[in-house]
Amino acid sequence: MADTTRILIDTRPLPVILLSKSYRYLVFALLIAVVSYLFTLSPPEGLSPQGYRALIVFGLCVFLWVTQMLPLAITGLLAIVAPPVFGVLPAKDTFALFGHETVFFILGVFIMAAAMMKSGLSTRVALKLLRGAGSSPKKLLFQIMVAATLLSFVMSEHAVAAMLFPIALEISRALEFVPYGGSYGRLLFLSMAWGCIVGGIGTLLGSGRAPLSVGILYQMTGEQIGFVQWSLATLPVVIMTFTAAYFMITRYFSVDVQSVAEADRILSEKNRLQGKPSASEWFITVIFFLTVVAWMKFGTKPGLAVISILSVVALFVFKAVRWKDLEEYVNWGVFLMYGGALCLSSVMDKTGAGPYLATQVIQGVGGNPLMVVIIFTLVALVLTEAISNSAVVAIMTPVAISVCIPLGIDPKGITLLIALASGLGNALPMSTPAMAIAFSAGYFKLKDTLVPALLMSFFSVLALLLAGKFWWPVLGIHILK
């Protein structure tokens, strides 16, 4: 028998096995015990009993969002019902917050994205963008990144990753790649994922977290970031991170194939098989462009949400989509999560818990505005590698805004920084579904992406700070007033 062989016996102790089976219930029991104990304590000096209870509810939701022991949407629901249960705010107030404009803007955006996916319009656009790479491996990677980025400007980056994955798989099959058989296979999936991540920060449509952060900002300060202002503010960040990502992919890793002509042939064939656009695709395209124009011109009045809902009505008028289709493509949990997050930020602000927390944070970090900005950006960037990026926005934006106001930091600036940093997680499979999908192809492991992802994070912070320092003031956003 070879010396590499040995027979192992399961020696795990019984308590470890029992703990692994029951830890979830133990954690919940412990959580209830801790929360119950905290409620018996007196509020700290400078915080009202109502604010103290709000802080406990906030802590509870943060714990559940971070650990995801409950689905994000269910924690969102808890954020709506916990304040009345614990006497923080009356039920009619918290449920009213669920009807926030932002929630309906997201509703409209998700429905439009669903229509694009169902009709095949998004796949058609992706295939058009992937045409003509010829035999150049680098050009194909560039086109995959461009397709992922541009599509993530107009629909959820997660949906874009799900849609592009089969195309990337088909390319890898055409080129006869095998997992760990070379470098180019991993570049295909990495360029797809990083393209989605970069594009997802570009507009208010790339993910729910952008409108959520704008909604929290408006709720807490009355200030708004419009569709155009957001897109213009993020544009240089997108360009810088896209460039860094492309160079990282093509320089850090080796492009070890000579020709991708076979992939180009298959993509051309798929394009040909698409045929002519259907009437639905034309209607959806026209309605989408009119909607974007309306968001740009009338984003403040009647508002983004009104326009997006009117566009949804128009989709149904032209029979471009059926309700049944929407149910398959829209995850209604999104509204519970974002509604709950908005409710929680409002509860924190109204009860004084937010300003109290802000005072503690300022005392902790020394009150240097620039340091505060850098710390919040870095924390968002690090947190988003491990937890949902929407949860990062929901947790950090209310605290950051509360901290920044007394320090003279523009709340718009810090809102943008957190929303953008939270969208730039690019290393771990749990950072974003796009990375999880890319990992699932089996072409790379965590160790393959750690160093380039770390470098990408460095470039991302640099891009954010450069944009904040030199570009955002042109748009009227002065991070340090």
């Binding site: 028998m1 070879a2 590499t4 062989t5 040995r6 027979i7 192992l8 016996i9 399961d10 795990r12 470890v16 096995i17 692994s20 995801q68 689905p71 994000l72 949407a73 998700f110 669903a114 996916m117 169902k118 959820s156 997660h158 949906a159 799900a162 849609m163 994955f165 089969p166 798989l169 099959r173 095998v178 997992p179 760990y180 729910g208 149910e327 398959e328 493509y329 829209v330 995850n331 949990g333 999104v334 999560m337 949902s388 990026n389 929407s390 749990m430 974003t432 579904p433 999880a436 999908i437 699932s440 192809a441 089996g442």
Partner: protein
């Protein structure tokens, strides 16, 4: 050929197992038995992607189902290819062999096939794992060892 000498080789679609395969071929020659190569497509990974898409990405059921099917199809394709290579390698060495592709839980499927094929020995590869990781998380291989009716030989890849 003796039915009591069937050797069950367990491989995965997510990693290469050259040492395990080579060892299984040698054992089959030693025992003069039949080599049954089993590839289990573990549904846990695609399921976790669908969950993440739904819970964190708030993507609807349909794209989730589509990506699940795509991942499973890809893994199946890779599994079939690997099994064909192993069977071919066995035939070159005049070892009777067959490939079995299953979907589901690695431990359950492995034990089931071991019973069905009356395996005399199960050979399975694994990457190196620290003592601490083994202690805390355990591993599917430990479960196979604990529940298998025949000896399990573990090859460190």
């Amino acid at each position: 050929m003796n039915n009591d000498r069937n050797i069950l080789l367990v491989i995965s679609t997510t990693r290469e197992s050259p040492r395990t395969i080579a060892y299984a071929l040698r054992r089959a020659q030693e025992l003069k038995g039949k080599l049954v190569a089993l590839c289990v497509i573990d549904t846990a990974l695609p399921n976790s992607i669908v969950d993440q898409l739904s819970d964190s990405g708030f993507v609807g059921d349909k794209p989730g189902e589509e990506i699940y099917d795509e991942i499973m199809e890809e893994y199946q394709h890779r599994g079939e290819k690997k099994l064909a290579e192993i069977v071919e390698a066995a035939r070159r060495n005049t070892i009777p062999a067959k490939g079995v592709l299953k979907k589901g839980d690695l431990v359950e499927e492995c034990l089931k096939v071991a019973r069905e094929e009356k395996a005399a020995v199960v050979i399975v590869g694994r990457k190196k794992m620290s003592k601490l990781s083994q202690f805390i998380f355990g591993s599917p291989i430990r479960k196979i060892e604990k529940n298998s009716q025949c000896p399990v030989e573990v090859i460190e890849e």
